[in-house]
């Protein structure tokens, strides 16, 4: 019996719909990627609240202070207390000038390592002077954004505010007022249950 020979045809898959979908996916991920919160620090677990709303007007000048803990997976919150993460430096909320050594958990090695901390009062004074030298009044034009962890003792946040308020000597030798505007950051609660503690 004879069969009619059929020629093999080269089937081409239409790629256009797939490329359309992939481009749409890329556009979606680009839009929802959060590039704005670059100064946010993952070592800070913010408290949640239903009333916390993103600001409608972004302050012209801001200084972000991240206060938190380098948590050890076995022991949780370290005993030496919270640390201010400022320009990749570890700072302690203290007025004393002397540097201090603390044990910080290193995630990459999984072990504690000794790190030298800097007193934050000195850094704050530098920040105030930097704003002043740029012609920006720290008291009137700068908002200090405090991003503090849920477990930071309130007294330390108050101390941080006090240190920010303190007067400083400008580069021209005049005495200037410190920061006066503060914004306490909190995460927007996803449900409507108010005043629920976040826990560990």
């Amino acid at each position: 019996m004879r069969f009619k020979k059929t020629e093999l045809t080269h089937v081409e898959v239409d790629m256009t719909p797939m490329i359309d979908i992939v481009f749409q996916l890329i556009a979606f991920f680009m839009v929802i990627s959060n590039f704005e919160q670059t100064q946010a620090d993952e070592r800070v677990r913010l408290p949640t609240d239903v009333l916390a709303q993103p600001p409608t007007v972004k302050p012209a000048h801001e200084l972000v202070l991240n206060v938190g803990f380098v948590r050890d997976p076995d022991h949780g919150i370290p005993k030496q207390g919270p640390i201010v993460f400022h320009n990749s430096q570890f700072c302690r909320i203290t007025e004393t000038d002397s540097p201090h050594q603390v044990l910080i958990y290193n995630r990459s090695t999984g072990q504690n390592q000794t790190v030298e901390t800097v007193p934050f009062a000195y850094r704050l004074e530098q920040e105030k002077r930097l704003f002043f030298d740029r012609g920006v009044s720290p008291a009137e034009e700068v908002t200090v954004i405090i991003r503090a962890d849920t477990h930071v003792p309130t007294g330390l946040v108050q101390k941080l505010i006090q240190m920010s308020q303190e007067t400083f000597t400008g580069s021209d030798g005049s005495s200037q007022e410190g920061f006066a505007k503060f914004a306490l950051k909190a995460e927007m609660a996803t449900d409507d249950r108010a005043f629920q503690p976040r826990g560990n």
Binding site: L46, A52, P153, L156, Q165, L184
Partner: protein
């Protein structure tokens, strides 16, 4: 004039494979770098230094004082006091605080002048202070959201902190 062997122009098809490779790489990059972060909001506090604040005009109404007491060991909230009145602890106490302030302010012509002072124990966990600030400043009036935002009614704008107290925890070396 006609030529023999005149070739038909070939249909040029762009090479799709490299473009698809790049597009998939981009897609994988964005998928991997995606961090799902909850939106952040803030509570604004205007707190000039003490010397600067004293030059302001005298107030018509006394400040409301909120006292937050903490457990020294854990930093958890033990009691909320509004003036001399104890409101208890936990989420219910914050709701009671919210209602009390709302009642005190309702109908007052000087509502804008009212300032609330939060006096917390040094060792109190910061999250309770945020809850107190939230309870003092406003409430959610509608569960529905408008573009991701809740409908909020604010009743107090001015919040300040009392000077920090002394820590009751023993100092930790190291």
């Amino acid at each position: 004039m006609q030529f023999r062997n005149q070739k038909q122009p070939e249909k040029m098809e762009p090479q799709m494979a490299p473009m698809i490779d790049v597009v998939f790489l981009l897609l994988i990059f964005f998928m991997c770098t995606l961090r799902i972060i909850s939106q952040e909001g803030d509570f604004n506090i205007n707190m000039p230094a003490v010397a600067q604040a004293q030059t302001e005009t005298p107030k018509l109404l006394p400040d409301f004082k909120i006292r937050l007491l903490a457990d020294v060991e854990t930093g958890q909230l033990v009691e909320i006091r509004f003036g001399q009145r104890s409101l208890g602890t936990g989420p219910r106490a914050f709701l009671l605080l919210q209602q009390t302030i709302k009642e005190q302010i309702a109908g007052s012509p000087y509502a804008d002048e009212i300032e609330i002072e939060i006096d917390a124990d040094f060792d109190l966990n910061y999250e309770h202070v945020i809850s107190a600030v939230s309870a003092c400043t406003g409430e959610v009036t509608g569960a529905t959201t408008e573009g991701g935002r809740r409908t909020i009614s604010r009743f107090v704008e001015k919040i300040k902190f009392a000077p920090p107290r002394q820590s009751q925890r023993p100092p930790v070396g190291g």
